[in-house]
Amino acid sequence: MTPGPPIVLRFFARFVPSDLREPITGDLTEEYLEMRDRRGPARATLWLWGQAARLALTFRWERAAHGRPLPPIGDELRSMSHMWDSLRQDIAFGVRMLRRQPGFTVVAVIALALGIGANTAIFSVVDAVLWRSLPYPGADEIVSIGEQRTREGRLSGPVSPADFFDWRREGRSFRAMAAYTETAVNLTGVGEPERLRGLSVSPGFLDVLGVHPAQGRDFRTEEETDGRDRVVLLTDAFWRRRFGADPAVVGRAVSFNGNPYEVIGILPAAFWWPTRPDMIVPLALDDHDRTLRAAHFLDVVARRRPDVPFSQAREELSLIGARLSSTYPEENTGHGPNLRPLRQALVGDMRTALLVLLGAVGLVLLIACANVATLLLARATSRQKELAVRMAVGGARIRLVQQLLTESLVLALAGGCAGLLLAAWGMAGLRHVLPAQFAALPGIDQLGVDTRVLLSSLVLSLLTGAVFGVAPALVASDQRVGATLSEETRGASGGAKGRRMRSALVVAELALSLVLLVGAGLLMVSFRNLTEVSPGFRPQQLVTTRLTLPYSRYADRPRAVAFYNAVFDRLRAVPGVDRVAATSAPPFSGLGGRLNLEIEHRSVESPLPVRAHPRIVSPDYFATMGVPLVRGRVFTDRDNADAPDVVVINEAAARSFWPGDDPIGDRISLGDPVRWMEIVGIVGDIRHEGLDAEANPEAYMPFQQGFVAFGTGLVRGMSLVVRTSADASAMAPIIRTAVAGVDDQQPVGLIRPMDALIAQSVAPRRLNLLLLSAFAIVAVVLTASGLYGVMAYLVTQRTREIGVRMALGASRASVLALMLRQAGAMTLTGIGVGLVGAYALARYLSSLLFGVSASDPTVYLAVSALLAAVAFAAIVIPSSRATRVDPLSALR
């Protein structure tokens, strides 16, 4: 019989008290040998290792916990958990302390919940929109390519087809490149006719995104050509909604705009694209359109090869662009491709607004921390005796700090839980008020509390607890034991250190609040300025809708004009319809390009390119919109194809190209080929691109007359504008009936009131303003409560002193003045520091401002006064209590 395996036992013996080593290893060996005989060496060895480990742990913990002699215990399990005991004790003690002071706890938890909740909510939005990767495999390889047109100050605009085809052919850095445009078609033949949102994409679009159809196939290259493009991919949601997820749909034909399209596949359910299309069709350009280089209407995405870095891809593409500029100087001088990561292109200028909000909630959390820290400091003072006694009997300082920190963390976690509830609730609310512009942001539809959000708020809570807990814990535990114990009846004040720290915290709160208030104030002034801007027309009682006449039935201009005139006649006959007109690009639609403008017999000296936005309108357009005629005349029905070509320009064009001169009677030409049109009138400016964008030079042309640069395109795609004296929302069925009465195959787009379009255009600013104002209000309330608390505390601390002063004949007024002087100094310091901070930070806001400078003194002055007033109120209430001190009872 061999002796037991010595290694494990020798190792194990180190964990056993020396006098027990021999018998215990002996016992184990005995049982091991017995077990080996009965159940084999493998089982026995396993058993021995397990027993040795358990015993080692038991002795180890027994030692650590109790040393010897060992106190009575039931079994070793209880002592195993000893490691947690001190933490558990601290937590239990902390919870008890917090429950003993419910007032303090509730105030602190509310402050923390507001701070953590706001941060969690905004963090989850920022995370979803800016940081989480887009839902495509290898999403960081996907880029958006726009056309940069420096002459027009345009950083990234749509791309012309000829440029796209050249880029795609010559770009070596890309695995795939695709152009797309948004499209809308009428679905007929399956139940109710429905207007569908879609994308027209060149084949390769799905390769760029890394998406494969869940059923069926992707587009083939030849389906890019006109005439072979009657195929469609359906999105999963649309397939389920309209076809009940019937797999047999693949291979069948559906009818779009009356034409049959073969369903070649279904996209996966996870497919995401900002515009939420129902279906995707090939982008088929005819031979003429393919050669267009001056008409920009495509968006381009590409996937760069993984081995080609972004900068190299950009370089290659700009070389191609430079070559194209020299080959086609007429169209491409100053033009070039602009490569951006897809996310950056999608998020656009929302980025600044989101980061500003994130910064704002960060400030709110800092204020909450400072607030709770002042509360903790005040409380630490009232617990000073307890702490002093603990230190006097030998409590280590580190142990006290640990205890106080644990309490802070318990508090922070409670605040975090409440904050998470607030955040979940806030996010649910936020989803309902998000403006339409936000709906296209990545990740916004999955907004909610998930693991990342949970983790972030947990980390945030712990950090918060550490931030507001450390300083008070250090101050509170730093005591001259004897001094505190003997100070007893004098009303200890927490030492000069604690007092200084409290003042510093309040000053910090005031300063941070002022920064937030300045931000909110600047946004508020901007918003007011913006809503006071006249759009240049009367948007009330005006509805608009887009009509796109199919080429198949409206190839020539007279047919299109006849269609519109017939619709006008039908609508004018409806009671409540005052005026009706059509335009190629209504305001706030985002539609419209620019063309070179030439003036007969004259060259224009202008630092800017001499260009104007062409607008094709029906004669009654200006009257319908309420655009004032400044000089000359507007169009009439006599300005038809047989009459001389005429044009009406806006004031911006007159100002820019005829400074100090009268343009009426001059002749101009737009684009190629030259075709002179006589200026017959000047109309007021319309803020076409938004209330915050200056009006551009515009040239209006009557829709009966020739305008050739885009063929008949501009006349086939027009928007109706209808001015009504009736309810604008009741116009939708009337317009649909009128259009269907003229052509029952003609779909009608979304019918929207013009003032809703304007409201939507400022909705992101409004949301920004609302959120920032809400955060500023929270900040001010927290600061005021912090100030109130500190003052109330100081009054209590100085009751005896005040009593003495009053006993010696000080008046109530002088006592009040004494208290106010101290608080006033803190307030002024806070506001001063805040003004400097606000001035330094406000420039980050400048891209969000309108009509107000980031350093506008009025705003700074006004919010300072507001904060001072709030601070005064928070100071004066507790201070006036000091004047009611009864000298006798104070001295007793």
Partner: protein, 112 residues
């Protein structure tokens, strides 16, 4: 009657002491554990036996002696335990207290 301190011995300590009494000269950790399992049906971890024995010895309830090494144990010695008079007294006290407490409760608790 002198006041009886029932809590002088923990419940587990009593069980261990009784097992040692039952085993007489043969009481060492392994046999104590086996005896305990046989009488009470309770499987006790090795660690708690060692620690309790150690504690009882420190408190002066037990004395132990190291026997000669044997080959079955890999040449290691056994530590045998016996009760000191204090332990017997404590057990008696404990029993008295328990019996006094039990008396008259037969009907309430059934045959038990």
């Amino acid at each position: 009657m002198a006041p009886v301190d029932v809590s002088a011995l923990g419940e587990f300590e009593q069980v261990v002491l009784l097992s040692i009494l039952r085993l007489g000269d043969e009481a060492y950790a392994v046999s104590i554990r086996d005896e305990l399992a046989r009488c009470t049906g309770r499987e006790v971890s090795r660690g708690s036996i060692y620690i309790t024995l150690d504690r009882l010895e420190t408190k002066g309830y037990l004395k132990s002696r190291l026997a000669d090494p044997t080959p079955e144990r890999g040449g290691r010695a056994k530590r045998y335990y016996t009760l000191r008079p204090r332990a017997v007294e404590a057990l008696k006290d404990s029993r008295r207290a328990l019996v006094a407490l039990w008396r008259g409760l037969e009907r309430v608790l059934g045959q038990a």
